[in-house]
């Protein structure tokens, strides 16, 4: 499970959100799990995550890649850290 792997690597914050990045000054970027699931469904692997995803967001249907959603750099880091395969 992706969420289990993220938790094992400290990428889930105290509110249960997925941590996308952390700054040295304490700033951070997170995404709620339900939002992440809306975009990426049950995708588990790097190839699945960076591919095209069709989802409904604010009553509008979109088909976008991870890069178009601003997540590819995050997935690149996760892959390098062994969080995803």
């Amino acid at each position: 499970m992706l969420l289990d792997s993220l938790a094992e690597h400290g990428q889930i914050d105290e509110s249960g959100n997925i941590v996308l990045s952390r700054g040295e000054d304490g700033s951070m970027q997170v995404v709620p799990v339900d939002v992440f699931t809306t975009f990426f469904g049950a995708s588990e692997t790097y190839d699945e995550l960076i591919g095209e995803h069709t989802f409904t967001w604010n009553d509008v249907q979109y088909t976008k890649t991870a890069e178009e959603l601003g997540y590819k750099q995050v997935f690149d880091v996760w892959k390098a850290q062994g969080i995803i395969n």
């Binding site: 105290e14 975009f39 959603l69 601003g70």
Partner: protein, 137 residues
């Protein structure tokens, strides 16, 4: 009692407040992924605040929400304190819908807290600057 920002002036000409505090670029600039929240560092000793003003600079149209979170994890001022339908490119935007009820703000900002920028658009938003000024009395 002041937060760990910068005291810019003893007098705010926009209100009767006697000081205002500029928290600076409290949310790091850069791309915020679709649906994501960009949190500022934690600020302490926010003290009595009776008015707030937000300025942002973004590279594209989008819908964003600002809110203040009093630790731990309790959101105040509502999650739609500032909710613009669009953001103009390359221009400073004073926030609309800023609460002006001093009693509410003074209660909310009595302690530590952080601010967040929520990109509710389905595309990443590049935020060049987010400056929050808190006006005290």
């Amino acid at each position: 009692m002041l937060a760990n920002g910068t005291l810019v002036s003893d007098t705010n000409p926009m209100t009767s407040a006697t000081r205002y505090l500029d928290l600076g670029q409290c949310i790091t600039g850069g791309a915020v992924a679709a649906g994501a929240y960009a949190y500022s560092p934690v600020f302490t000793g926010l003290g009595f605040v009776r008015y707030a003003q937000y300025f942002i600079q973004s590279d594209q149209l989008g819908r964003v929400t600002f809110f203040h979170e009093v630790l731990p994890g309790v959101f105040c001022w509502g999650q739609t304190m500032f909710n613009m339908a669009t953001i103009s490119t390359s221009s400073w935007q004073p926030a609309s819908g800023i609460p002006s009820n001093g009693s509410t703000l003074s209660t909310v900002l009595g302690g530590s807290g952080k601010f967040a920028f929520n990109n509710t658009a389905a595309t990443p938003t590049t935020v060049a600057n987010v400056v929050i000024k808190l006006f005290g009395g």
